[in-house]
Amino acid sequence: MKNRDFIFFVGPSLVAMFVCIAIPLIFVLEQSFFVNKKVYKEVEVESCVAGFTGQICSVEMQTKPQLNEKGEIITQKEFVGLENYVRLINFDAVKKAFWQQNFLELENVKFFSALRFTVTFCLITLPFVIILGLVIALTVNNLLSSLKGPIIFVSLLPFIITPIIGALSIRWLFVGDGIITAFLEWLTNSNISMFSNSWTLELMMILYRIWHVCPFAFIVFYAGLQTINKEMLESAIVDGANRYQRLRFIIIPHLMPLIVFVSLIHLMDSYRVFEEIIAFSSDAYVISLQWLTYDFLRLDDTGNRYISSASASSILTMIGISILLYPLIKKTWNDYREGKL
């Protein structure tokens, strides 16, 4: 395809991605080095109280935010360098933790607590999703083919459902007198409240995420199992390989590219963990990186949005995802240079 035609086909999409993704990213980077400050000015305020002989007036100087002709507060951008970042990661606390070798205290800094949860969440859910997806795919593959359609239909439901609705449906099973909590209480004869401990909340989020992503892994692996070379399996059986050996030496290597693919997608998506925090109202106990940015961006009780802090935390979040994806991009680049792609 000639370059001219290529530009015609790809151009609109590229322009859209450049204008709608790249430029906002540059804006975010810029904002993270500035703060918006209200412009104050000194005003003489004359206040009078009624006295015996007349009014007693006193003049005092007050600082008030300056208003423009429409009555809005004038704000001014001010360059602050890395100050937004330093405040976000609470540099003093980091120094202190470093000197005292006590890194558990960093949990008190919102950013580190979010980082800790996000990373552990990604890494804990990953193996469960892969293994459970693989087991479901293998078992469905062994079943009668007439049952496969309905099973795939039912399995798709947790994946297809709106994430926040899915998490809410789990919440309603566990909340207060929810049916599963009631069952567990009856079983253990104790009082259980899933929503007031950080570890139970994290457990529920992990369970929810596994429930939500497993179908995706299952479908991908199931499709991979259909393309497996049957002669190879048959010759393995002739050679006396048992079930486990066939799984270990033929099926898993065959599925390896798909396992990498699912892991990649899952890491990207679970790094963005957010809806669970909203649905379980867990922000007092457990927060994630994306939720932190969201929290800065939304209106707080005093009607402010902390755009600068949000930008700084976005940039740090992006650095995190780049570190997470770097090995993969590097591998793709090597494959490409060696002409494998």
């Binding site: 290529f6 086909f9 906002p24 297809i160 609705i165 957010f274 995802i321």
Partner: protein, 380 residues
């Protein structure tokens, strides 16, 4: 004699795997099934700690309405019969109407099914239940009050309209951009195409809040920033469903071009090369040869765009204000209100209302969704 052959398995393995799949299916659909049941009961029943009380709903039965075992049995038998005959019915309709659009046909069949179910339940409650003794007694309580409350009092119809605007905008724009780009990328063999795809992959990994942090200040002050271009008509983009479409298209674009590219790669190159040899330009080849055969891919990609737009919480809740939301973000407003249990059930009814369209989409497009999930994986 292969691994894929079910017949040579030991009985224990077979039994275990059947049991395992059964358990998985129950886990997969139980939460959804359960909130659907809860949404049909009064709060006192829905939050009862006894499993059977929630299922049967004694209070709801007393105060509101109920259905008998006989009519539930009749409806489920009818459903099974209907499901087994659906192919024949579709062929019959196609022959008699002479109309072959799959989706419309399905909708028609679906409405027919709903109509039949409702009439069966009415017929039973009016005429048969009285003669059926225990089977005819009304046992399962249900009420549609909460759905009524959601859709009329809580402004859900407005939210529904907004969702419709946003999702259809997202689907149309991202498909038209993504189809062209996917075709170009699939047919270009150079490192530029490769790098575009890698950058798209990196963009796909971006947390959505990062983009919103870039958009939000601009959206709030857009009338001041855009006034040199549009003068007095410069809009405030904050709170406009149409402006949200832009952001969602941007988020969706990387995924769309990956998916479309892998579909186009499965269309043999020889097809448009032959057309080019016969004297077509690239555009003519695209229009005359590719467009007629690309619809399966477009439908699949469209489904995924739809789900992205429909399911989005973060972008819509930050860029739209509370009074003028789309459906999904509005739900938190329902259950955070100093939640009385009635409010909670209303929120559950809203959740079920949001899920229902997705449920039917899986029902209709299961094959396309599966092919979309696997399309990206085949090429790695």
């Amino acid at each position: 004699m292969s691994f894929l052959d079910a017949s040579n398995q030991p009985f224990a393995l077979k039994a275990f795997s059947t049991l395992f799949i059964l358990v998985w299916c129950v886990i997969a659909c139980f939460p959804l099934l359960w909130i659907t049941i809860m949404s049909l009961k009064l709060p006192l029943d829905a939050f009862d700690s006894n499993f059977f009380n929630v299922l049967v709903g004694p209070v709801t039965l007393q105060l509101k309405n109920g259905v008998s075992v006989a009519s539930i049995l009749a409806i489920s038998l009818f459903s099974m019969y209907f499901y087994s005959r659906r192919q024949r019915l579709r062929n019959y309709l196609r022959a008699s109407i002479g109309y072959s659009e799959d989706v419309t046909l399905f909708l028609f069949i679906f409405l027919l099914y709903i109509f039949c179910c409702i009439s069966i339940s009415i017929i039973f409650s009016k005429f048969f239940d009285a003669y059926l003794g225990l089977f005819g007694a009304k046992i399962f309580g249900f009420t549609l009050d909460h759905y009524h409350a959601v859709w009329t009092e809580r402004g859900f119809s407005l939210f529904f309209k907004n969702s419709l605007i946003v999702t259809s905008g997202v689907v149309i724009i991202s498909l038209s951009l993504g189809t062209l780009a996917g075709y170009g990328l699939a047919r270009k063999e150079s490192s530029i195409a490769f790098w575009i795809l890698i950058i798209a992959l990196i963009f796909r990994a971006l947390p959505h809040s990062v983009l919103v942090a870039g958009y939000l200040p601009f959206f709030m002050k857009s009338n001041a920033i855009l006034s040199p271009i549009f003068g007095e008509f410069a809009p405030i983009l904050y709170g406009q469903p149409l402006a949200v479409i832009l952001v969602l298209v941007a988020i969706n674009q990387p995924f769309t071009i990956w998916l479309m590219r892998s579909f186009f790669q499965n269309i043999p190159k020889e097809l448009d090369e032959a057309a080019r040899i016969d004297g077509c330009s690239h555009f003519q080849a695209f229009r005359k040869i590719i467009i007629p055969v690309m619809w399966p891919g477009v439908i699949t990609t469209g489904l995924f765009s739809f789900m992205l737009g429909y399911n989005d919480y973060l972008v819509c809740s930050l860029l739209l204000d509370g009074q003028n939301q789309t459906m999904v973000p509005s739900i938190t407003g329902l259950f955070n209100r100093d939640t009385s249990t009635t409010d909670e059930i209303v929120a559950i009814a809203a959740a079920v209302s949001i899920t229902a369209p997705l449920f039917f989409i899986v029902l209709i497009f299961q094959k396309q969704i599966v092919s979309g999930l696997t399309a990206g994986a085949v090429k790695g």
